[in-house]
Symmetry: C2
Subunit: 710 residues, 2 copies
């Protein structure tokens, strides 16, 4: 596996090594300091002594085989180095050198040239314009910036699209006593990409969770594939993806629908893939660190054991934010706890065993044991942390932590230890953890509860993914219309409502009855057949938002009203038409009343592809932009979940006197729409039903709009 | 000032000192270790040697005057100690002893007894059931738990309603290199309360910001008074107030209106008082620490200077969350920066000067200088932090930080330094700050931006309060009806709509015309006078929510419809009546159409008093609970601000084709309602107009409900 070879070289050459470069100094020092066992060769075209060692004048001059070349030569010299290396059989490279695509067209041309060479010669190259990697698990650290000791080995894999953040991530992980397996600074991702490294980490036995800093998801399909693999493998992926702000997403907004800003699609896609999105570097590392230790949690019912009333109350507030449940303890547990805690303590969840732990140092541990036997608890949050400074009698402290570590290990449910506040695990604290086996401590109630909430959510995604996998691969989207090619061929622009409605009806989607008419008389005749009151809408190829131009008349109760409405809507549509002359007619439909109006649409996101938006109509979408998104394909379960996420979900449950909606019936129609959209091929731009009227189990689209690309 | 005397004793007696008590050991050690200069006397009834010193058998046996007695005797012995001390003229006490109100009725009785004694004898007593205080500014630390050195002296005053959190707060403040002026652990607040200590801190020259941990606001009126004083004095108050979760606020919800949960009133009250509410201990200390240093910031336009693209993007996202503006730099600034940063850098706000700072260590400082001269920037956020470990050449590091410290001090706008991630300021980092004058560093982008956002908001509250003060005291609520006493006297239960509407109309509040009728004929006659369509509503004393019982008929267009409606609503109201028989009639009103329906209500919160709720009607209030609250009194400006906070605010601005509402006209009516509510005295329970119909500048209440206590 070439990527595995890149990260596990037995010998390294530093090409462009020089005493004048901080990068050169740091890379060599890192390799020496953090345990690289193989030879490190220095290459400098002028030879001589570099970093106190004799330098070779070229890669060819090195008498031994080289597994990895770390390249820090001038920009124009990079390609010659690759050429020389390839000839020598060197397959793996890190290119630190900058000056490529990131500086302008000239650099981009050079970058394209090396990309071609890399591909043609089957090389594995990290960079250019990146600092390299830190394989902490194996002690291999070809990395261009100082790595402050100690480099803690652990099981969090870190992939960064910003090299400048690596130092902060390293410092923070160290402060939290969180070890990493591999850290990569991706640089320009000219050939080797974030998803390639993720793929490696999914298979890497040293890695149990993956932390990403992402500026962009370059290849959503590939990202989805790898994320799904990670989810099934039980390796949580936590991501800090920037670009939430309107400034950052401004460009993105311009080329997708207003409801489906790029960033909201990413939120939806990440959730569907079980990728945990966080908003801070602290949450990134603390969440990945926690998940690296716990693995899947069995459920969201948390028992909380603390020595502080104030902390318990903060925890109650934050647990609710995170959707965690703090159930009452079982009667047996209460009885046991009442034997343990002081008389003045109140036995409840969260449990405050009181400051009496200063007098009886076994109190917290015994309470933990009692709570961990409670049958209604899925996991325990224990408020505790290693000491910051060495006490006068370290032996007693060590014994205490060893006893609690044993209780934690032997507890029948996972025990997650969280500190009160986010301060560094000190050197002494780290020593206590190492010597006593006291587990990982999540940093502070604030970030710790975020991490527990994320772990619970991820565990649910993981179980659902495994269940889905056990049930066999998801069926491809059904081709819900007989002759798809007939519809797609030559389709262009905006389809008139009637044509769109016919297609939808063919696909089994319930549409309101609708008669196309082309004069006042046929409109009245249609209204007579349908029965009053009726709706009359302008109809023409290319006519999209009819109500915006005054092309819709509701609640018509007499033939005269129908005639006048016909004249008005046709005039309005004709006046609004800007393209070549089209035949303008109208549609007559029965006037529906009651029920809840929904919006169901599928639009094509440039990166993630067809994306479903469901929401309630009216103010919900116009003022609140209250929609739930899902990247297709999507099943009925997922659609039902999306419906419950809406802020207006209570209306579907029958608030304000509406009939409760049959969510199965709604989901069935929505899935049909999604399947249809997928059947219609790459030319489909968007497909929208607004409104979709829902009254109990009656679901009916009152309008339809299909737009094609080109 | 007795509270000042409590916190500044020249001599201390530890009453109940014993080698067997950790509290006794810690208190004495703290006093000795953290600089208390006066004598510390030990008192133990058995005399002998305690903590290696000779103990006195009683307070009376001490040959010198005692300023403060720190009491840790058994519960039943507390009162005798106070009695002895009072006789000796000792005015100040800390009572560590527990076992009072917090353990049950017997303890509560003892607590009441000592409370009486304290008040009768004019003593100043912190506690009982509290650990004491840490006057770091003066080096006076009668405090019962270990204080880990170094105790950093600074200007944040900390008041805690949970003693167990004090250690976490101290540890975190120390880790952030944030010094405190005074920390108090309040205990049971039997006599001395949080607001007493706040009052002291507002006047304490050593304190520039105040951090509170609150379980409850015991006396809202007093809290409001002190908070207002702090705001005018320019001392920011930051509060972590727990009880946000439904579990915690369950009891509270039971006795106030469903819309006005206690916690939402606290949100509203705090904002009106300029108290910054936070949700974590980290934000509490980081925000108070930042504000202690910066004082008021001139505005929300922030220039950001960083050495990292990734960090810049995280900052852009978080700045938007916090409502901060990151304006483009002025052309002059851009020109200057282009001379400073490397060619491959992009000059924009946030500015990434790039990792080139590793080569040119003056780069960040020079960029800071250029940005600080930008005329469109109110303050600068500089991403930097003191080093974690001592480099080989500390002199160069010190020189660099000294140079940047000078630039920061001399900048024409405030410069706020923020670190990438929240890690401890190490001992070396603290030394660098001390030696070079490098300023306070907010801990990490996540919490740092929260703190900057809070500082900007507080600065606006502060300026508004000063402006309000300059304009003279706010006028008392106008007595908007002539003879208030007439209305209040004997008023009870729920008033029939007509009676409520008459009172509101008398107060100058525009009410829809309304005719009370008592039979079908008079109903038709009224409808004829008013003009069709009309509305008909059941009317009876004690009848509240008419529509819930089917007591309202809308859009009646014929006399027959009016007759039938009259029969139906009277029957419905009669059937729904559960109390003694009342006369049921009806009201006839014109049917209005168009406009936006609002809800305006005033309800009495048990703690904060009359509280105004404004919102839009319909789904906004029923499904989304979208209301903005204000504790009365309130002016028109504040009402307009409340209206803009609504999630449905866009509807008032004319979204969905509605006529834009005249917010001045709405605010005028709302202020009249508020003034009326305040005029009606303590018996008023609630006063509600639902709906208040707003169409452009036409504002009219279509319904009114007044409820009285008792």
């Amino acid at each position: 596996m070439p990527v595995a070879d890149l990260f596990n070289p037995r010998s390294v050459a530093l090409v462009g090594a020089t005493d004048k470069s901080g990068w050169s100094i740091s890379t060599l020092a890192n390799l020496h300091m953090h345990g690289f066992a193989g030879p490190v060769h220095l290459v400098n075209p002028r030879g001589g002594v570099v970093h106190g060692e004799r330098a070779h004048t070229s890669l060819s001059a090195i008498p031994e085989p080289v597994d990895l070349a770390y390249v820090m030569v001038p920009t124009t010299a990079v390609l010659p180095v690759l050429e020389e290396g390839a000839k020598l059989g060197i397959r793996s490279y890190v290119i630190l050198t900058a000056g490529f695509g990131e500086v302008g067209p000239e650099g981009a041309a050079m970058e394209a040239e090396i990309a071609d060479f890399i591909r043609e010669n089957g090389l594995t190259v990290l960079g250019p314009n990146g600092n390299g990697f830190i394989n902490a698990a194996a002690g291999i650290t070809p990395y261009g910036l100082p790595i402050p000791p100690p480099l803690l080995r652990g099981s969090v894999g870190v992939v960064l699209q910003s090299g400048a953040l690596a130092s902060s991530v390293l410092a923070f992980a160290q402060a939290r006593n969180i070890g990493i397996s591999l850290l990569t600074s991706m640089g320009n991702e000219t050939t080797l990409t974030v998803t390639d490294v993720m793929d490696y980490l999914v298979d890497d036995p040293a890695t149990t969770s993956i932390a990403l800093f992402l500026e962009s998801v370059r290849n959503p399909a590939e990202f989805a594939r790898v994320a799904r693999r990670a989810l099934l493998a039980g390796k949580p992926v936590v991501a800090l993806k920037i670009g939430r702000s309107t400034i950052a997403s401004h460009t993105a907004q311009a080329h997708t629908g207003a409801l489906v800003g790029d960033d909201r699609v990413i939120d939806a896609a990440f959730r569907q893939l079980g990728v945990l999105r966080v908003r801070s570097l602290e949450d990134l590392i603390i969440t990945a660190g926690l998940l690296a230790e716990t693995g899947p949690l069995p459920g969201r019912r948390i028992g909380v054991v603390t020595p502080s009333g104030g902390a318990s109350e903060i925890i109650a507030d934050r647990a609710e934010d995170e959707g965690l449940e703090l159930p009452s303890f079982a009667p047996d547990t209460v009885a046991k706890l009442e034997q343990i805690v002081p008389a003045f303590a109140t036995v409840q969840n969260p449990l405050d065993v009181t400051g009496y732990i200063l007098i009886d140092r076994t109190l917290l541990g015994r309470a933990l044991e009692a709570v961990s036997a409670d049958p209604g608890i899925d996991a325990i949050m224990l408020l505790s942390e290693p000491p910051r400074t060495a006490p006068r009698d370290p032996a007693a402290t060590l014994a205490l932590y060893a006893a609690n570590a044993k209780r934690i290990t032997e507890a029948p449910v996972p025990v997650i230890v969280v500190s009160n506040v986010l301060t560094d695990v000190t050197e002494f604290g780290r020593a206590v953890q190492e010597e006593t086996g006291f587990p990982h401590v999540a940093g502070g109630i604030e970030h710790g509860l975020h991490a527990i909430g994320a772990a619970v959510r991820w565990s649910e995604y993981h179980r659902a993914a495994l269940a889905g996998e056990a049930a066999g691969p998801p069926p491809a989207a059904r081709h819900v219309v007989g002759d798809v090619a007939r519809h797609v061929e030559g389709a262009t622009g905006v389809w008139a409502e009637h044509r769109a409605a016919t297609l939808l009806a063919d696909a089994g989607i319930p549409m309101v009855p609708s008669e196309p008419v082309h004069d006042e008389d046929s409109a009245v005749a249609a209204a007579d057949r349908i029965g009053y009151p009726v709706v009359l809408k302008a109809s023409a190829e290319g006519l999209g938002h009819k109500s915006d131009i005054g092309g819709v008349r509701l609640g018509l109760t007499t033939p005269d009203q129908v005639r006048r409405a016909y004249r008005e809507v046709v005039a309005a549509a004709t006046a609004a038409s800007t393209g070549p002359p089209v035949r303008v007619g109208a549609l007559v439909q029965p006037q529906r009343s009651g029920g809840v109006e929904m919006l169901v649409g599928v639009v094509r996101d440039p990166g993630w592809g067809l994306t479903l938006a469901v929401g309630l109509g009216g103010v919900w979408v116009e003022v609140l932009r209250d929609t739930a998104l899902r990247v297709l394909p999507v099943g009925a379960d997922e659609v039902r979940r999306a419906l419950t996420e809406l802020r207006g979900a209570r209306l579907l449950q029958g608030a304000r006197g509406t009939e409760p909606a049959d969510l199965d019936a709604v989901a069935d129609v929505v899935v049909r729409v999604a399947d249809l959209a997928q059947s219609l091929g790459e030319r489909l731009e968007s497909l929208e039903m607004n409104p979709l009227l829902v009254a109990g189990s009656r679901v009916e689209a009152l309008d339809a709009l299909i737009t094609w690309r080109g």
